[in-house]
Structures are given as structure tokens and as C-alpha cells.
Amino acid sequence: MTDVTPANAARIGIGGPVGSGKTALIERLIPVLQARGVDLAVITNDLVTKEDAERLRRSGLIDPSRVEAVEAGACPHTVIREDPTLNIAAGDALEDRFPGLQLLIFESGGDNLASTFSLDLVDWWIFVIDVAGGDDIPRKRGPGVLRCDLLVVNKVDLAPHVGVDLDGMLAEAGRVRGGKPVIATNARAGHGIDRVADAIGRAVLFAP
């Protein structure tokens, strides 16, 4: 194995519908990844504000200067798929400012089930859905659900309160994805976060 440092940070995307828990997932991932020695930064995407970036900057979890915001100004998928130039530039700027950066996390603005990331922007991406959105979401076979490298089903603690058959939902998610990975989380309580961090580490940081 070579000990050469990669020329660039790994870049991952986190997308999913509005309110599914993308920012909450990142808030939980940051300390877990930092504890593993990962040097990281975050780029958030919002429609016409910097709300998610401000939330992360105020969180105390990460140096605020390591959080950048991109305002999509249109459908959020346009800046992560059709023309990701703004995000690529934001990522390049962070890499210039923080030499040695190992991981850049791009959070998409909340979108619909058709949202996908361009592989020109990221090397690997997560799609987050939540049980409160209904257990029929996987069955609707949205491109986000089908094509992502990792599907996260969040807010699993709410399943009994919203009449969702969680086991059936997870089984169906695995089936429509042809066996590609699915992880159940409760981001607010931190459940399942280690498994998500493991998946990131293995896929793009080449952890054992």
C-alpha cells in the first residue's frame, strides 16, 4: 500500500426530501467522523437562504469557516446534477483554504424522489428518506432511492406512531435497490450513525 496522500478530498453527497433529516444526519456524523480522525468540511445547499449552513455554523460541532453555503435559486437538483459548477467551486475553495482536507460533504437542498447527484460533483452519495413520509416511498422507485450508493431510512422511532411497517419498508427498500445497502437511523438519538460513518469510511476513505 502506498502512503501517498490523495491529491483531493473525497467528496460525498447527502440528498433527500425536505424534512427527511439530512442536516440532522450531518450533525450526528460530524463528531463521529472527527473522532475517527477525519478532517472534513461541509457545503450546504438551500433554495434562497443559507439556513442549513447557519444551523451547522451555530452548532458548535465544526469550525464555522469549514461550512460553506450554496444558494440554488431554483430546483435544488439543478446545482447537484445538471450544473454542479457552484458546488464544485465551493468545494475547490474549501480545499484551497484547508490543505489536508480528507472529506467534503455536500448537502443538497430538500428535493423530490427524482433527485440524484452528478458523479462529476461527488464520488459517492447518500439518499435520506424518513418513515413519516410513508412506507410506500421505496415502492415508488424514485431515482434517488434506486441510484444512491446508500439509502438511509431515518426517524425509525416514529414508525409505530405513523402506522408504518418498518420491517416491510426496509425489506422493500432492499428489494427495489437490488440489494444495495440500506441503513435505518434515528438521527436525533444518534442511532445507526456509526453504521453510516462506517459506510462512508469504507467507500471513499478506504477504511478496513
Partner: protein, 154 residues
């Protein structure tokens, strides 16, 4: 696990081709197969045809390509082979079907190109996943379909 950080060149480069040819005679050229849908990734973790688990961490300005030489020394080489792009060729039987087909292709954000009265849709998954989205256009025979790979003529 070996981590590869740069591409040494193309297997077609004159300086590399002879060395690869020599190694190939000794069965010492391993191949990393990468699907056409994954080739844009700069970070890839995969197993070569010879069974070695490797990782790619390429610079962002250095995209992978078919024939990229990833490792080369006196005893061993590793070359990338990119799988052919698969296309779903859709032929509308009427102007009305063509209009509706075009609407669906755009609405579903499919990657398309056009050839001889057909829409070619780049496949990122099973063709049936695409055909089912077209509903009656396909089931009623208003649009006919075949699957092509990059090597076949359009």
C-alpha cells in the same frame, strides 16, 4: 489494500504499449473492470479480475478512462477496462407517440441522444425500470424498443 493515486497513461501510449505487451505474454496484466456508470467517480474501491482489492483516489482533474494504466512495473501491470454504455433504443410509431415519449424522457431526466427517428436512452439500470415508466406507450406497442451497447451501430 493498495491505493492508486494517479493514472500513468493509456495502454495505447507508445511508451507503455510495448511493456504491457511483454507483460501480457507472461500473464502479468491484471484488469480493473469499471462500469460506464461508475467511470466518472474519482474514488472507487473494487476487486480486480485477478482478485486484488484496490482503491482509486484520483485527482479531480484526472478522470478514469478505458485503457488507463493504473500500475506498471517489471513484473505486473493493472489496466482499467470500462464497460460499454448500454442504450435503450425507443422508436415511436406516430407523431403523437413521439411527442409523449419526448415529454417522458425530459420529465424523467433521462440522458438521451437522437438517431434516425429514435431516442436512445443511456441505461443506468435494468431496461425494464425505464420501460415501465412509459406505461401504455410500450404495452400498447406505440413505442418499440431494443437494448444496444456502445459497440453496436445505432
Amino acid at each position: 489494500m493498495r491505493v492508486i493515486h494517479r493514472i500513468l497513461g493509456s495502454r495505447r501510449d507508445s511508451g507503455l504499449a510495448d511493456r504491457l505487451h511483454h507483460l501480457a505474454h507472461h500473464g502479468a496484466v491484471d484488469v480493473l473492470v469499471v462500469s460506464s456508470t461508475d467511470v466518472a467517480r474519482r474514488r472507487i474501491r473494487a476487486t480486480t479480475l485477478a482478485g486484488e482489492e484496490i482503491a482509486l483516489a484520483l485527482p479531480r482533474d484526472e478522470p478514469l478512462f478505458d485503457g488507463a494504466v493504473l500500475a506498471l512495473d517489471e513484473r505486473h501491470a493493472l489496466v482499467a477496462r470500462v464497460g460499454t454504455e448500454r442504450w435503450l433504443r425507443l422508436v415511436p410509431g406516430s407523431q403523437a407517440a413521439a411527442l409523449e415519449l419526448g415529454y417522458h424522457a425530459g420529465n424523467l431526466h433521462w440522458r438521451v441522444r437522437f438517431a434516425d427517428g429514435a431516442i436512445l436512452v443511456a441505461l443506468d439500470g435494468p431496461a425494464d425500470d425505464y420501460l415501465v415508466r412509459l406505461g401504455a406507450l410500450v404495452t400498447d406497442g406505440q413505442v418499440t424498443h431494443t437494448v444496444l451497447d456502445e459497440a453496436e451501430p445505432c
